[in-house]
Symmetry: C2
Subunit: 425 residues, 2 copies
C-alpha cells in the first residue's frame, strides 16, 4: 500500500462514521505517525483508554492489544500513557511496530477495524500525568526580540545565552489539554506612568508557540543524561501553547523569573508523537557562534542532527498569523535535556520540557503576539479587526507538520484554546 | 496529666526500647504536636505506613485506627499522606483529636501502646508526594542581603518586592527527605575575570534555611484562594533546606530565574506538623511599609496574626551557625497562597511552597552561608576550621521550635543532609 495515506479498510470505518471537516489532516496521521493519546466515549465517560490516532480514527489500544494477544497489553490497558512511557525505548519500539502492523497488514485489518472509533465521537484527555514542567528559551530570534522589547537599554541577549540553554520551571498542575478554555488571569501590573501597581484582568494576554518534549524513562538522582541519552529517555513530542500575561510578567519577573504571568495555563496536544516517528525530520541546528562546553557539544557524528524540521502554524480565529520554523532553534532538545540533568537532577516519567517560543528570522515567523505586534505597538490587521494582544472569545490554534518517510508529511496534534473573560469581570 | 511531655505509659514503651540521644526532643513532640510522617520497618521495608510522632516513638496510625475502629481508617492505612491531606480540614481535625485521645486518655493508652514503635527502629520516607514546588523570597533581610551581594550597583530590593511576594517554581522531583545525601552539583560558572564559563563541581555550595507549607485540599482551575482560605487548604508545615549552588545560580539566573543552581536537591523534614498545632505560635507579621492591594491586605481581624513564631537553628557539623527567626518574615504563608492563586492557578494535594530563606536582622540570624560569610568574603570560624561555602563531608541540620499551648514548646521535624563529592570528582 501507499505510504502516503492510511487508505485501508480499517481507515474507511472511521471516514464513513463522521463528518470530515479537515480532509488534509487525514494524510498527516497515516501509518508512519501513530501518535498516542487518552480518550473516553460518551457511553462510558469515566473510562479513560489509551488510543492511537490513525487518520481520523482512534484505535482503542488496550482492546486491540488484547484481541491480538500482545505481550504489551498490560501497559496499553492503563488509564494513562505513563506506564507505556516508563517502559523504555525497546517497549516503545515494539509497541509501535506491532500497532503499525495491526493497522496496515491485510491479515490484521479486519480485527483492528473492530477497535477503531471515529475521532469525532470520542473525548480526548490530557494524555499523560505531568511530573515537572520546564520551559526553555531556545530561539535566538525570540530571545533577541524579547530582550529588545523588555530591556531596550541593554544588550538583547544576556551574556549567558549562547553558553547554556536558559530555562526555568513552570507549573505542572496547570498543564491542560487542547480545547480547555483559558480564563483571562488577574493580577498586578504596573504601567510605567503609574506610581503604584494596579490590579485587574491582564490586558496583554499572549500566546507562545512551542514544541514540548515528554520524558518517558526516568533517571536516578545524581546521574547525568548525556546528549547520547536523549533518545533513551524522551518518549515523544507535543505542540504546546505557553499562554503568557505580559503585563503581569513584566512587573514580577525580576529577579526570580516568570511566575503568575505563566502559571495560569499551558496547553498541550492531546496526541504525543513518538520520537521515532520524527526520524525523517532530523536536521542540523543552526551553526553555533561560540564554542560549547563538552556536555553540550553536539558536533560529533550521530549527534549533529539534533534539530527537527517542524513547520508550525499559528492561527487566531482561523486566520494564519505566523508560521514559525522549529529548525531555526539554536538549542536542541537533546542539549536541553543534557543541561537539565548536568547538575544531577533526576528525571521522572511525565517530565515535560518545552522549547521556548519558536520564532524564525522573518516577522511572519514570530511565535508570539508580543513579537508579532512589537510589544503592542504595531497591531495585526486581521479580517475581523485589529489585534495587539488577545481579546475575550479569541481562539488560538497551533498546528505543525514535518517531513515523514518517502516524501510523506506527518502532523503533530493541534493545540487550541479559547480565551474566556476573567472571573468576575 | 501534664501538657509539657508525653510522660505516659505508652510513651514509656518507646523509651525502654531504644537509646535516647537527644532527651530534649522528647518534650518537643508531646501530645500537642503529633506530626505526620511515613515509615517502614526493617522486617518489611517495602511496606510504607502512615505514622504519628509521639515523643521518641511513632504510632502506626493505620493499625491504631483499625484497633480503635476509627471512621477514618481508610485514609490512615495508605502508603502516603496524600489521601489524608486531600480529605480536608474537618477530617484533619477529627483525626488529630482522635489520635490525641488514643495516646493520652487512660482508657486507650494500653491499646495505643501496642501500635507504638521506637523511632530509632524505623526508616522515615518522604512523607507525601510532591505536586508542584514553589519557592518564595519573603524575608526582607535576606532579599536585601542577596541584592547587595549579587547586584551591588543597584537598589538592594527590586521595585516590586514590597508589592507582591516574589516566588518561582522549583523542581518537585528532586525534593528529598531529611537524611538523603546531597551530591555536589556540577555545572557552568563564570568567574568575573574569566572570558568563558568554566565547567566543574560547584565551589559555592550553600544552604537556605526555610519553612515549607504543604497543601492538602485542592482548588479548581480559575478559582482564587483568598487570605481566609489559607487554613482550609494548607495541611501542615515542614522545615526545608533549599540547597543552592551560588556560582551556577549567579551565571544562569538572568533573565528567567534560578534553575540548575537549585534543582539538584531540596530537603524536607520527615514530619509534617499540622497547621492546627501551631495556633499558639501565631503572631502579627512586621509592619508593612507600603499599602497592599486588597487580595494581599491581611490587616483585617482574623487575618492579622498570619505570622508564625518559629525559631530556627542551623547547625554545620554540629555547631550552631545561625538562629533565624521566622516571625520576622515580611510576607506570610497566607499571603503567598493568595498570590499564587490570584491568577486562577489551581492547587493540588501535595503542592509544596517554601518561605524563602529565613534571615533575621542580626548577622547571627542569617539563614544562608552566602549571607553569613557575605558572599564568601568573611569566613565563619568554626571549631574544626574556617568555612565560606560547604565542603564535601559537611553535615547541615535545621531544627526549629515554637510556643505551644500553656507554655509548652513544640518542635518541627529536623532536616539534615551530608554533602557528598561530585560524581566522578
Amino acid at each position: 500500500m501507499s505510504e502516503r495515506a492510511p487508505a485501508s479498510a480499517s481507515f474507511t470505518v472511521g471516514v464513513r462514521a463522521h463528518n470530515l471537516t479537515r480532509m488534509s489532516d487525514t494524510a498527516l496521521f497515516g501509518p508512519d505517525n501513530l501518535p498516542y493519546g487518552l480518550f473516553s466515549t460518551p457511553d462510558s465517560p469515566g473510562h479513560r483508554r489509551l488510543g492511537i490516532r490513525y487518520g481520523d480514527d482512534v484505535l482503542d489500544a488496550g482492546a486491540a492489544a488484547l484481541a491480538f494477544g500482545s505481550a504489551h497489553a498490560d501497559v496499553l490497558q492503563q488509564p494513562s500513557l505513563n506506564p507505556l512511557m516508563a517502559a523504555g525505548r525497546s517497549v516503545w519500539r515494539a509497541v509501535r511496530a506491532e500497532s503499525r502492523s495491526w493497522l496496515t497488514e491485510d491479515v490484521h485489518r479486519e480485527t483492528a477495524a473492530r477497535h477503531l472509533l471515529p475521532l469525532s465521537g470520542v473525548r480526548l484527555h490530557l494524555p499523560f500525568e505531568v511530573a515537572d514542567y520546564v520551559d526553555f528559551y531556545a530561539s535566538e530570534q525570540h530571545a533577541t526580540n524579547v530582550g529588545r522589547i523588555f530591556r531596550p537599554d541593554d544588550e538583547a541577549l544576556t551574556p549567558n545565552w549562547k553558553h547554556l540553554p536558559i530555562g526555568y520551571h513552570g507549573r505542572a498542575g496547570t498543564v491542560v489539554v487542547s480545547g480547555t478554555p483559558v480564563v483571562r488571569p488577574q493580577g498586578q501590573r504596573k504601567p510605567p506612568n503609574e506610581p503604584l501597581p494596579l490590579f485587574g484582568p491582564s490586558r496583554r494576554l499572549d500566546i507562545e508557540a512551542e514544541v514540548g518534549f515528554v520524558v518517558g524513562a526516568p533517571s536516578e538522582l545524581g546521574a547525568q543524561v548525556g546528549l547520547d541519552g536523549f533518545r533513551d529517555h524522551v518518549f515523544g513530542v507535543t505542540l504546546l501553547n505557553d499562554w503568557s500575561a505580559r503585563d503581569l510578567q513584566a512587573w514580577e519577573y525580576v529577579p526570580l523569573g516568570p511566575f503568575l504571568g505563566k502559571s495560569f495555563a499551558t496547553s498541550v496536544s492531546p496526541w504525543i508523537t513518538p520520537l521515532e516517528a520524527l526520524d525523517a525530520a532530523r536536521v542540523a541546528p543552526p551553526a553555533r557562534d561560540l564554542p560549547l562546553l563538552p556536555y553540550l557539544d553536539d558536533s560529533a557524528e550521530g549527534l549533529a542532527e539534533g534539530g527537527l524540521d517542524l513547520r508550525l502554524t499559528v492561527r487566531l480565529n482561523g486566520h494564519v498569523i505566523a508560521e514559525p520554523p522549529f529548525s531555526t532553534m539554536y538549542w536542541t532538545a537533546a542539549q536541553q535535556l543534557a543541561h537539565l540533568t548536568v547538575n544531577g537532577a533526576s528525571l521522572r516519567t511525565g517530565d515535560l520540557y518545552a522549547s521556548g517560543t519558536v520564532s524564525g528570522p522573518e516577522p511572519a515567523q514570530f511565535g508570539s503576539l508580543l513579537e508579532l505586534t512589537w510589544g503592542g505597538r504595531e497591531p495585526l490587521e486581521l479580517p475581523d479587526g485589529k489585534r495587539t494582544f488577545l481579546e475575550d472569545g479569541d481562539v488560538v490554534t497551533l498546528t505543525a507538520w514535518c517531513p515523514g518517510p518517502a516524501g510523506t508529511r506527518l502532523g503533530l496534534g493541534e493545540v487550541t484554546g479559547e480565551v474566556r473573560p476573567a472571573v468576575g469581570a
